[in-house]
Amino acid sequence: MIVAIGIILGVIAAVIIGYPFLKGTNGPSADAGLEDEIERQIRELRQDSEGRAGSD
């Protein structure tokens, strides 16, 4: 009984963990890296401007 529950739990866990590979979002893309960098820079600029605008 407990072995069966263990197997079921293990399979569910494996499906959840493996789902991103099944979905086909595999592999890095150069665009994604660029996108990250742009996002990061925008956030930094926004925060810096907020910091300067802050009263404290």
Binding site: I2, P20, A32, E44, Q47, G51
Partner: protein, 656 residues
Amino acid sequence: MADFGHVALILAYIATIYTVFASAMAARSGSRAFATSARNGLLVIATLYTLSLVAIAYAFITKDFSLKIVSEHASKDLTALYSFSAIYSSKAGSVFFWGWLIALFAAVFALQKHDTYRQIMPWAVSIMSVILAFFLALVVLVTNIFEKYSGPHLHGLGMNPLLQNFGMIIHPPLQYIGFAAFTVVFAFAIGTLIVRGRGTEWITAIRRWTLFAWCTLGIGNLVGMWWSYNELGWGGYWAWDSVENAGLMPWLLATAFLHSIALRRKRNYLHTWSFALAIATFVFILLSPFVTHGGIESQLHGFYASSYVPYILSAILITLAGSVGLLCIRYGYFEKEEKPLPLISREGAFLISNIVFVALVLVIVSGMVYPEIAGRLGENDVTIERSYYDWACGPIMLFIVFFMGFGPLLGWRKSSWNLTVRNLLYTLVPAAVAAIAILISGIGNWYSIAALVCGFPLFAMCLELIRGTMSRHRIRSENYFQAFFALIGNNRPRYGGFVAHTGIILITLGIIGSSFYAIETTAALNIGNSISAGEYELTYDSLILEETDLKRSAIGTVSLYKGGNAIATMHPEFNYWFAAHDSFAESAVRTTPAEDVFVSLLWTSYDPNDKSALFRVLVNPLVVWMWIGGGFLLLGGMISFWPDRKRKLKTEVDGK
């Protein structure tokens, strides 16, 4: 159910090993699939771990004595609430519970930040997974929390009676919540270091988590003090014991870190220093279980001779070597970003307070470690007395409280001398006048010092609040009430900090009053005898003897008089717990804003024909203000934590 929990825990461990691998792959290759898989791994670990916790909690609550841990730490008569708290009253259970919180917070953090911080998160997830793997290894491989037991304790050995107190239900979870929340902060900081993260982005990501950790650690320490005061029967709340110090030091370092990231966020200073503090705080968090599991000798409480000690020590050394090594490698890179900091400014005040916090931790840890090192070098019986901590740490703590007054008065960048002197006139001078008045009136030298040390920051904060409110009233034509709350609402981190500082001031008042002006009397009394303590007189009226399955109780009745008038009846107890084969005093405390009257029944023979009893009576001034200060600490943390309305709206608009 227990077998189910065991299986879930083993699967959680396997999932953790996979998540370490997947997140490392994501970090190295930039693969989104691996990153998402690692995030899902954390969700799976948290779910499986929770199932395992439910199983162990069920075993404790239903008193499943076939499990060794339940048999050794619970008993048939234990209530459901104490049965649950019995989980973390055991060695393995405490590590198990702490690990579960890390799993939970890691999963929440991964869900929050997975899409936002694509570069840092794989590294952060990797580090969180490694930490989780360590905790799970302790409860799966080093010991087995689901180990079966078939010995003779059919009704269980029971829980230590001293732990059967409301304070001990919430004190350990609060500490573990703080530790686990800071684990997330540490992981993200190391992730940022690895990817050479500049700017303030990483601080925005972890500010709330830091606040949460800091707040729960602070409240956790205070609840521990409250428990010690009410339950241990000695009338004190802090003994500078290693276990207490191990809980205090991470909080002190987290306080320094919180101030450091506040400065970094506002003014772009202390980049490397902030990383160093994040590392130091986490290392001291790991030191805490090392102490409680017997790595450093403790007089009060802890899990002695735990098999975890060498593993925890290894974890501390590896974390220290790895993190400091990484910081050194990155130092050259971040050095370009560091700029000289003007000392006579608010930035300077932040830096000085940071240095003092670190100095305080070094003083405490020196006192803890010195006897251990001396012992290893062959010097026997080296102990550090309480007076070392009182005299070395007391002045530093007073300086920190006093120094809180300078921050609000100094301007950013460079403060003009004229303005600074004028601000000091409004704040330091009234505090000094109050101190001198108290000194002359003979109320007490230490109260005079308290007036100066606590009065100055209090006046400084009041001045800032009055100025801000007046300025809003003048410029925006808001009434004073509206202006005051709008002022706070528009800069919650700052004014939340003010409220938390007020809490620290109240706690300081409580410590000064109870440390220097407590009156203690101990006497053996027969029925009808009286004892004096300060302005109070106590008469021993009667003693009732009772017996249940759990304990034999002697319940005293003591009348309390002040100026000849009866003002209260108190009932201290002396209980012999059968399972523990030991007696413990249950104190009675009468609390007023001015002072506590603390009565402890230290001994009686349980003989119906001889009701003589030994009493300890303490009059502890201002103690209640420490607990009220804790409330302010919590409130301040909540105000700072609360999302800013403007920012929330902005996010919503941006989201559209």
